[in-house]
Structure formats: structure tokens, C-alpha cells
Amino acid sequence: MTIKDMVDILHARVLCGEERLDTPVYTACCSDLMSDVLAFVNEKTVLITGLANPHVLRTADMLDLKCLVYVRSKVPNDEIIEQADEQGLAVIATRETAFTACGLLYSAGLRGVPIEWPESEEAT
């Protein structure tokens, strides 16, 4: 699917990156914990979050993420949206909760980012 499809599925509002809505997306992750995102994400993916602070953008920058989806009507301030736009991100916001947003996107074919577990963890 594309970011535009996510906008339709989630009845979302586009906060920036209108011109990037054709970007294809295959996987997503959902978290408010940035170091979890930094630990487990290793591809250019979509981040579904309720955390509206500059560290979400910094995390997105470090990982080259392409789209942020804000849930439960959390919306970052204008400064953050401007910065996101400069970084080349698309940012959309939905009224759905994280659980429902993830469920809707999963049903439509989006999948979780593949996770590489460190060998030491396999048995636990």
C-alpha cells in the first residue's frame, strides 16, 4: 500500500508531506519508546506513535524512516511538523487508538518490521 492508502484506511489528516503520499509502504512498527524503535527497526519503515516530541524526529532521522502516524489525535506542534517536512517525512494523524490503527493497517496488508533477535535471546 501507499501512504495515501493509510490516510484513507485511518481517516487520517495529512500534517506534512502531501507530495510524498505515493510512497509505497510495506512494514510498520508501533511504539512510544524510542530506544525500542532504535533497537529493533532496521529498515525504512512507518512509525505509529503517540509521542509528539522532537526525539521522534531525531529517531526517524537516524533510521531514515519515511512516515509517522500519530494516533489518538496526538499532534506535534508546528515547529516539529516543519522540521519533519524538512527531513522529507510524511506525517499523518488519526483519531483512532494505537491498537485500532494497527489492526486496520494489518488487516489491509501492512506487516510488522522483521525483527532480528540477538542469538543470546533465542532461548529466553
Partner: protein
């Protein structure tokens, strides 16, 4: 000794959540300009951001240093304290003493240090309570 392509020092202030992460963004920009591969770039960026935010969240302030030679990228974080009483415990996934402020900013999962170790080819941490913590991470370029 091999020649040094880049040497940059970034002072990082304690509790500065606004600027925390700027050093890592600059480091990423510099390495990208050098043409470092996407894989190394991502691993350095993640480790750098984690170690920089640890300086903001847990330390009394310190310096993050970037060193690039034709063979490797080095990140060195050295702080003024307070030091880590039990390094082995701190290295465990999920172990965190992060403040409420840090948690509200999206940190405190206790994933930073193990994540740095996993991303770096070379990882070394030394810490002394009352003195400070030094972390050296190497990333092979060849």
C-alpha cells in the same frame, strides 16, 4: 597509526533534551558526505544517538567524540560522572534508572547500552563511581 580523516568533539550537556541528538545528526551528516555505506551509517547513527542521549539523561555532562580513519569510525563518549555502580547490570536489556522526565520523552526502556554493543563491531565501557563513564565504539569500514 593510520591517518585521521575526521576528528570532531561535541560537548553534551546534562538534561538538555532540546539539543540532545544534535551531535548525532551532525555525525550522520558528516559520514554520509564521506560516502560511508548505508549499513555502517545506520549502525553508527543508532549507537551515537543512544550514547548521546545517555549523556543527556544519566550523566553530569560530557563529550562525544567522532574519529574517522580510512579503516574505521570511532565514537567515544566520556563524561564527568556520576559513574555506573554496576556495569554488568546496566548492560542488561530492560534495566534502567531513567527519570520520569526521560521516560516521558520516549527513553528509559533500558535498551540503549545493549543496543550500542549490538551495533558496534567493537565496544568497550569503563566506569567509576564519582569519576565518570567512558564508552568506546568502533565500526569497521573495510
Amino acid at each position: 597509526m593510520s591517518s585521521v580523516l575526521i576528528h570532531a568533539d561535541y560537548p553534551v550537556e546534562a538534561e538538555d533534551y532540546t539539543r540532545g541528538g544534535e551531535a548525532s545528526a551532525d555525525i550522520k551528516r558528516k559520514l554520509k558526505q564521506l560516502g560511508v555505506s548505508a549499513n555502517v551509517l545506520r549502525r553508527v547513527s543508532v549507537a551515537s544517538y543512544e550514547v548521546e542521549m545517555n549523556l543527556v539523561i544519566h550523566s553530569d555532562g560530557g563529550v562525544l567524540t567522532l574519529e574517522v580513519s580510512p579503516e574505521a569510525v570511532w565514537l567515544i563518549s566520556a563524561d564527568r560522572g556520576p559513574g555506573i555502580p554496576d556495569v554488568e547490570m546496566a548492560m542488561r536489556e530492560g534495566w534502567s534508572t531513567a527519570s520520569e522526565t526521560a521516560r516521558s520523552q520516549g527513553f528509559g526502556a533500558g535498551m540503549g547500552l545493549p543496543n550500542m554493543k549490538r551495533n558496534a563491531d567493537d565496544f568497550d565501557i569503563t566506569s567509576k563511581v564519582g569519576e565518570g563513564t567512558t564508552i568506546r565504539m568502533g565500526f569497521r569500514l573495510a
